[in-house]
């Protein structure tokens, strides 16, 4: 049972929780999850993100901190700073910001 913020949904505020979250719509504010965040290609996130894992195919602006892994897929566009032990940027992805992989 995945949590899905659908295409036509706009959230302005803070999201926190301990389950996986899929964003197909728009989130502005802050996202704090104990599990994984998936921003799909239709998703737009303008928020600071703190999660276990993040996978981005949509657009994200904000600082990202992940305790395991950040993955920017080939469709993903990210502007912000990333801090995580594992960071992957796929061919075709667009990214601007700082990367910190210190463990």
């Amino acid at each position: 049972m995945a949590n899905v913020i659908g295409k036509s949904i706009v959230i302005d505020g803070e999201i926190s929780g301990d389950e996986d979250l899929v964003v197909q719509g728009t989130v502005k504010g802050k996202i704090m999850l104990k599990e994984s965040l998936l921003v799909e290609s239709s998703g737009t996130v303008e928020a600071d993100i703190q999660t276990q894992n993040v996978e981005i195919s949509g657009a994200v602006t904000g600082d990202i901190q992940a305790f395991s892994k950040v993955e920017i897929k080939s469709d993903g566009r990210v502007v912000g700073n990333i801090k995580a032990p594992r960071i992957l940027i796929a061919d075709g992805a667009k990214f601007k910001g700082n990367v910190d992989m210190d463990r």
């Binding site: 657009a59 940027i89 796929a90 075709g92 990214f95 601007k96 210190d102």
Partner: protein
């Protein structure tokens, strides 16, 4: 030019200073200073480069620190250890690579965001 075999700086070679030129180049040794290459530069697993690099394409499998400006693409592969600020249209970081620094690609965001 593209058909010429790539130049190689082997394991036993250490260079300190400026390196510039055309054609593809593979570094298996050590280079400190500045590198300006028209074509494709590859830093192999044994390679250690402490230099600012300007090239068209850059592939890193070894150790590198310094600033990078590439007109085409930069690929940081699985065993690479890189500390750098990178400016390039395409930057790829593979799983297992160690990277610290800044990445600057031109990012087009959808309307209404930032």
């Amino acid at each position: 030019m593209a058909n010429e075999p790539p130049g190689v700086i082997g394991k036993g070679i250490a260079i300190r200073g400026n390196l510039s030129g055309e054609g593809d180049l593979i570094i298996e040794g050590t280079v400190e200073g500045e590198i300006s290459l028209k074509n494709h530069l590859t830093i192999e697993e044994t390679g250690v480069v402490r230099a600012d690099i300007k090239s068209e394409r850059l592939t890193i499998r070894g150790e590198m620190s310094g600033n990078i400006e590439a007109s085409d693409r930069v690929a940081i592969q699985a065993n690479a250890r890189v500390t750098s600020d990178i400016k390039a249209p395409v930057v790829v970081i593979e799983d297992g690579a160690r990277f610290k620094g800044k990445v600057d690609m031109d990012v087009e965001l959808p309307d209404g965001i930032l």
